[in-house]
């Protein structure tokens, strides 16, 4: 076995293992304060990378050079250094670290390990045992609630759906605001590769994408298996990430993968979890009123009728005609009709959803010999979703090895391979979207046609002639069962991600490191629509391949020197080269000749295109650190970077950062203090630049294509005739004068520990300001173009982050950890571009609900038309014409259909909501008693608005539960008034004719909840106001609750299983929210900057599962 280990390691590193004569072997045992062994404890030589891990019984064996210092560390334990001297056998007892150990080692920029105590910036670390708890296999969503200042939004509960992450605020209005993800020192791809065939095409394919339809996009961060992660360090502000350069401007998430450990030879660990998913929250639907309009039932054959404003269900009966193709109970007639047989009962549309099922299995084989370690792990996640046929299957293989080739040369290599298959479901503003067709279906129509498993019965959704069976006679919106079968979207991924690294200790105070890494993947998507799909009635097949390649090279010289007893310094100098190329191959075939044959060869018209996005950067950087008596630390960094996306004249940039930290508890007065056990104050400043996207300098010609928002539009070639355009509504004019945008930030913080580290408090306050933000500034179309690239905008963020870690109980058999995270960020758009008052970030635009950047407002506010309020003043500047907090005006024009109802008369466009939460908080508790551990996590999002467009549309369609009150009378609260011929707010005087300026008295006129009211006054669907559907989407949820039991390790006799544990857990089981739709943790736009829109988003899920871990 030892030979096998060596072979694996040698093959990995492409290096030959040779022995060095100067080493000696040390053995020993690592225990905790209570005397229990610490399995997996890390043992390494100070100044040398790598090391070994203790086996299941805490036993370790390591080869070390003479006079080495050994560093022992373990999760939740304080790190200890021991000068080996002449010792051969070392038994170490590590102190319990309570919750806030400052001697903890964290991985910082460029993969350099530092003690947490010396850092001048805010970082937070998540260890492996906190990840992979939910069974979802999604590393980004696992971080939810665990780091203060980290926003994590899951787009939907679909298998493989995207997760949006953001640290602190938004630094760039239209650029990517997600933090850089770095795995073992290599920046990796977290792109969204998505094509919305029905609507926005590729424009949905990035962080500033505006996706409103299509299938829920995935971000590629999903490819990582959480089980392969040893720890995650979150470097929050730009100052923490200054060394990562332009890419790290939004913070960095540093992932360190697991390396070999275990006893000499090999060990095996296995974990397996099984979970079931249930739908969490759905929009409430009425079940009393049938399809139709004005109280009259209109059958499914009448396609022009799309609403449920028909007769009351209890006045209707089925005629029992079994040959009636639209319903097995027969056609619907009035109760008094002679053919009436069976009283109509409402169908429950949500029967559509099923129980999702997930298995997650991971096996890892690891081992070490004298100088080398390896780990080989295989993981598989197999998930079927709550939507029939939706599926995600991911297999990962991770192979890594480390070797101390000589006492000066250390080599590391690791490869992660991922293969995944995702069957996705159409969503959103999309006539093929699941929720759109499903929730608009009247209670009088059965999408399933009587089958309990209708997704498997074509009879439910397709007639023998190939036309669609839906509630609108085959037109309108897809029957959801049709969508899952006849409009499949699939995505196949193969990804290899890996790095090799060599560290050579040239001198005792100087180490050279070279690291080369790559991230290469191919994602092949197929989106198909059978003939008679509502999106593509003639049928269509779209094939898109995304081929992405990242190469990253770092050469780092690491120097460390003690000058005298008091001064110590280190200097890092490095060079980085980064290259990213992303190719897209697109082909679309329309008009399928043979229905049901969803193959490209079956199409009659073809469109195709290719894309090649290329970018390279090169940088030199340096970091100098000086400390005085391990009490005062000063860190300075500088980076000179060249980017290919900048114009030649402006393509080199320099940026600095500085951090100062003072551990005041090192002062003699604090020594042996019983109250304050550790205290540090820190301050930092950083200046980071961000380059433009590729190809932003020119305005080229492209193949002509245009659309008007109502129809699919035209795409060239036209019957074989090519056509090019320089402009369309979405063309952005290039700019050869671009320079990098710039983010300056300051951060102040304190890290305190009290009562022998039983209480740890970290507080960080920050302010950052981005200037010269590059964005496509919207242009009036009369300039001939839609936008122009400019260094125009500026915006700022300020915020506060607090983490409080406590260990209220710490006894031999009982331990309770209780941790709190809290953060608040306030963003502000300072300016866009001269004369520009509003910029669409995402959503519908054109006066319909959108997410916008507006000067003076927080980033990404909801923008749309309002009702008329008492403070309405049409002469005021745009955005300030209405005071939304003033009472609503109720129409006093007798005879108007909207008499005594809120006045919606084309209200002005204004800020109608702010999706940014007021604060985010979480409580994480873990209580262990002997072998039992009970843990839970509660997440709170306080405030934050959402435009509930789903509700608005369902009110217009008459399926919303809220419309069940039709016919009831109501007296709305508000003031009387209307708009006069000049558009000013007036009200009628006592004579009922004279118009008097301003609002009148309080309304006393009664009104009735009518179809007119729900369609034209209250709903934001196709009606003049969006304000009415803005809701508070704050929530409190039990994110996770789990109970584990660790079996005694001698249960099956010694030396069989070293560790067995069994966990039952549940995710998202309890949710408290006022939000009146799907789970408020949702995003129509997916993992993109535009958050806060819900328009027929696919619902979220709650999960119940069991997990088994064991090691051999």
């Amino acid at each position: 076995m030892r030979k096998f280990v060596s072979l694996v390691t040698a093959a990995l590193c492409c290096l030959v293992t040779t022995l060095s004569a100067q080493t000696k072997e040390i053995t020993g045992k690592v225990t905790d304060a209570t005397g229990n062994p610490v399995p997996g404890a890390s043992v390494r030589v100070k100044g040398i990378r790598g090391g070994v891990s203790a086996d299941a019984n805490g036993i370790f064996k390591i080869n070390i050079p003479a006079n080495a210092i050994l560093i022992f560390s373990g999760v939740g334990l304080e790190t200890q250094e021991i000068n080996v001297g002449n010792l051969q056998n070392i038994n170490v007892s590590l102190k319990q670290a309570a919750t806030t150990s400052m001697s903890e080692v964290v991985v910082t920029a460029l993969g350099i390990k530092r003690e947490k105590r010396q850092l001048g910036v805010a970082t937070q670390t998540i260890s492996s045992d906190q990840l992979n708890k939910s069974g979802t296999g999604n590393p980004l969503s696992e971080m939810n609630g665990k780091v203060s200042g980290l926003t994590v939004i899951n787009s939907a509960g679909d298998p493989g759906s995207g997760t949006y992450i953001r640290l602190r605020g938004v630094n760039s209005i239209t650029g990517d605001n997600q933090p850089l993800i770095v795995i073992d020192g290599i920046p990796v791809d977290n792109s969204i590769n998505n094509y919305d065939a029905e609507g926005n095409g590729f424009s949905a394919s990035n962080a500033n994408g505006n996706l409103v339809g299509g299938a829920q996009p995935t971000n590629r961060g999903l490819d990582i298996n959480p089980d392969d992660i040893e720890s995650v360090s979150v470097l929050k502000g730009p100052s923490a990430s200054a060394l990562w350069g332009m890419k790290g401007a939004n913070g960095v998430i540093l992932i360190t993968t697991k390396k070999g450990s275990g006893k000499r030879g090999t060990s095996v660990t296995f974990n397996s979890s099984v979970t079931i998913d249930k739908i969490s929250q759905t929009p409430a639907l009425q079940n009393q009123w049938s399809k139709g309009s004005d109280g009259e039932y209109l059958g499914p054959e009448i396609g022009s009728s799309s609403t449920s404003w028909g007769a009351k269900m209890d006045t209707l009966s089925w005629d029992g005609n079994t040959s009636y193709k639209w319903d097995k109970h027969g056609a619907i007639v009035g109760n008094s009709d002679p053919s009436a047989k069976i009283p109509v009962h409402p169908y429950n549309q949500y029967d559509f959803f099923q129980t999702g099922f997930t298995t997650n299995n991971n096996v890892a084989l690891s081992g070490n010999n004298d100088k080398s370690t390896f780990r080989l792990a295989v993981g598989n996640l197999y998930q079927t979703g709550v939507i029939p046929t939706s599926k995600y299957n991911k297999t990962t293989v991770n192979l890594s090895g480390e070797s101390n080739i000589t006492d000066r040369l250390h080599a590391t290599a690791s490869i992660l391979y991922t293969n995944s298959y995702n069957k996705k479901i159409q969503q959103g503003s999309n006539v093929s979207g699941i929720m759109l067709g499903l929730t608009r279906t009247p209670p009088s129509f059965d999408n399933s046609n009587g089958y309990s498993d209708a997704a498997g019965h074509p009879d439910a959704y397709i007639f023998p002639d190939g036309t669609q069976r839906n509630y609108r006679g085959g037109v309108g919106y897809n029957n959801p069962y049709w969508t899952v079968n006849e409009a499949p979207t699939t995505s196949d991924l193969n990804r290899v991600l890996g790095s090799i690294q060599a560290d050579y200790r040239l001198l005792n105070w100087m180490t050279l490191t070279y690291r080369l890494g790559g991230d290469i993947y191919t994602q092949s998507d197929k989106i198909a629509y059978n003939v008679n799909d509502e999106s593509f009635p003639l049928g269509a097949v779209v094939l898109v391949d995304y081929i992405s390649t990242i190469f990253n090279s770092d050469f780092i010289v690491n120097m460390h020197k003690s000058f005298n007893k008091d001064f110590e310094g280190s200097l890092i100098v490095g060079n980085n080269f980064y290259n990213n190329q992303k190719n897209t191959r697109f082909a679309e075939g329309q008009q399928l000749a043979i229905p049901g044959f969803l193959d490209m060869s079956n199409a009659s018209t073809y469109l195709s295109s290719e894309g090649e996005l290329r970018k390279s950067t090169m940088a030199f950087y340096a970091e100098a650190e000086l400390n005085y008596k391990k009490q005062l630390y000063l860190t300075l960094t500088g980076r000179r970077e060249t980017s290919s996306t900048l114009p030649k004249a402006n393509d080199v940039y320099y940026y600095p950062s500085a951090a100062l930290s003072w551990i005041f508890t090192e002062l003699p007065n604090f020594k042996n203090g019983n109250i304050i056990s550790f205290g540090k104050l820190r301050a930092s400043y950083a200046d980071v630049a961000h380059d433009p996207p590729p190809y932003a300098l020119n305005t080229p010609y492209s193949t002509a294509t245009f659309a008007d928002g109502w129809t699919g539009g035209i795409t060239f070639p036209f019957n074989g005739i090519p056509g090019y355009q320089i402009s369309s509504a979405i063309t952005t004019v290039g700019n050869t004068n671009l320079k990098p945008e710039n983010t300056r930030s300051v951060e102040l913080g304190a890290d305190l520990a009290f009562l022998k580290n039983r209480i740890g408090l970290n507080v960080t306050a920050y302010y950052s300001k981005t200037t010269d933000d590059i964005l496509p500034v919207s242009l009036p179309f009369s300039t001939g173009f839609g936008a122009i690239e400019l260094n125009a905008a500026s915006l700022s963020n300020k915020g506060l982050e607090v983490t409080l870690n406590t260990t209220p109980v710490l006894k031999k058999d009982l331990r309770w950890d209780l941790n709190f995270n809290w953060s608040r960020n306030i963003s502000k758009v300072i300016q866009l571009s001269p004369g520009v008052n509003e910029l669409l970030i995402g959503g519908f635009g054109g006066g319909e609900a959108e997410v916008a950047a507006i000067p003076g407002q927080p980033f990404g506010v909801l923008y749309g038309a309002t009702q008329i309020h008492a403070g309405y003043n049409p002469k005021a500047p745009a955005l300030n014409q209405n005071n939304l907090s003033s009472p609503v005006i109720l129409n006093d024009t007798k005879g108007d259909p909207g008499f005594a109802q809120p006045l919606t008369d084309a209200g002005p466009l204004q800020v109608i909501g702010d999706p940014n939460p007021k604060w985010l908080g979480s409580v994480i508790s873990s209580l262990s008693y002997k072998k039992f551990t009970f843990a839970f996590q509660i997440d709170i999002r306080h405030g934050g608005d959402m435009w509930n467009g789903t509700r608005g549309a369902l009110e217009q369609k008459g399926t919303s539960q809220r419309t069940a009150n039709r016919g009831q009378s109501v007296t709305f609260k508000g003031l009387l008034g209307h708009l006069d011929a000049n558009g000013n707010l007036v009200h009628y005087g006592p004579d009922g004719v004279t118009e008097i300026a301003g609002p009148g008295d309080a309304n006393t006129n009664s009104s009735v909840y009518t179809q007119y009211y729900w369609q034209n006054i209250q709903s934001s669907f196709g009606a003049p106001t969006q304000e009415v559907d803005v809701e508070n989407a704050g929530f409190t949820r039990v994110r996770q609750v789990s109970l584990s039991y660790e079996l005694p390790n001698d249960l099956f006799g010694k030396n069989t299983f070293s560790r067995i544990s069994f966990t039952v857990f549940a995710n998202n089981v309890l949710l408290w929210t006022k939000y009146d739709g799907v789970d408020p943790e949702t995003s129509l736009g997916g993992p993109a900057n535009a958050q806060g829109l819900d328009y027929f988003n696919n619902p979220g899920t709650k999960t119940y599962g069991v997990r088994l871990n064991f090691g051999l």
Binding site: S304, V475, S644, A704, G712, T783, G847
Partner: protein
Amino acid sequence: MQRYKLIPIIFAGVFICITSCQKSYFTNLNNNPNVANSVTPNLLLPTVETGLAYTQGGDISRFSTLITQQTYGAASQFQNFYIYSYSTGAFDNLWADLYTTTMENDLTLMQSADAGNDNAYSGISRVLMAYTLEMTVDIWGDVPYSKAFQANKGGTLQPTFDKAQDLYDTVSNLIDAGITFLSNANAGTIVPGGDDIMYGGDETKWIKFAHAVKARLYIHQNKGNATMAASALTEIASSFAANSDNATYTFAGTATSENPWYQFQSSSRNGNVLFALQSKGVATPFAALLTQLNDPRYFVYLDSANDLSGQPAASPATHVGGLNEYYGGISAPVEFITYDEMLFAKAEAILNSGGSMADAQTAYQAAITANMQKLGVPAGAAATYIAANGTLPATTSDAIAKIALQEYIALYLNPEAWTLWRRTGSPVLNPTTGTQIPRRLLYPANEYTLNSANTPASTLFTPKIFWDN
């Protein structure tokens, strides 16, 4: 110590690597390999023609026919549009398609053709620009032109709005210059052929179209103005002589090149706009008019697909009605200006310039005949119809109203019908809500938001277009 010697070697190696990674490497990397940096006029002309046809046959036709009640807004946004409930944002896409897809690309075509001395393209691009600009003015009045289209030329990003009357002069000048270029069309290295989807490169037809565009300028202003009427007659005489001259764009009928009304009807929007029957079984005003006149064009315009209960329509009275094949088919044409419109204009101009009622009636009957021939109405049915409707009443105003009524029927789905109604008041239409019918569209939200300093205030009724009375 050997190791110390390594240090300068390593640094030297790194330095060489870096200096060899010259700047040209970075610069070249930023050239997008998937786009073209220059194109010839024959690659722009199809774009401009198609953009114009798609815009007119799509948004403009939908908005204008809801106002003229040739169509009926039954559901979703179109239900609101029908009762004049518009937000400024509703016109963003239309404005964009006119200014970017159509006019900016046309201007690029014009400049490229002028630079290469490709006279035919220089001429065609001017005629298309003149037509588009005139239609834009007829919708909004004052609009940007002289300071527009500067975004890629380093000019203003907030164009001022030109006076509508001045833009009519601009249209006239574009036509004159266009005709001059077209009269010397063979100069230049490339001449249009198959890339000219409208006329296949036939310069004489382009010249006729140019005169038709100019004729519209005069006819719009000919009410009570004999000089304008006379100028109109001059231009009409040089314009179309037969239906084969019509300025028409025909769609390819492939999945990515479908007629815009067909696209609308075959999408989920089907049912938002109705053509023959309103939702409760009442005929739309237009269908009622055709029924009342016993017009043989009823089943040319409107199909007999389904009645309210889903059964084949037994009679016009019960059919919900889609658009029939001629204007609603996948490869249906979008008509810009046609021979019959010129004949109707001729009849009107004869009366306004003091000509005889008999001459006017001849032109009027010829107009109806030309229209029915174009639509494939059998000659017998056309003759019967003319016998019943072909006589003009005695007074000029009544006669013009009758001419305009028939022209309104002939201009089915054509936005010119709205202009016709605004300047003649014929046919008589009842507002769907309130007391007024829109006489213009609102300036789009896009200009109000991004060019607020220059964009005039507007309602659906004020200010009127200068020729509107």
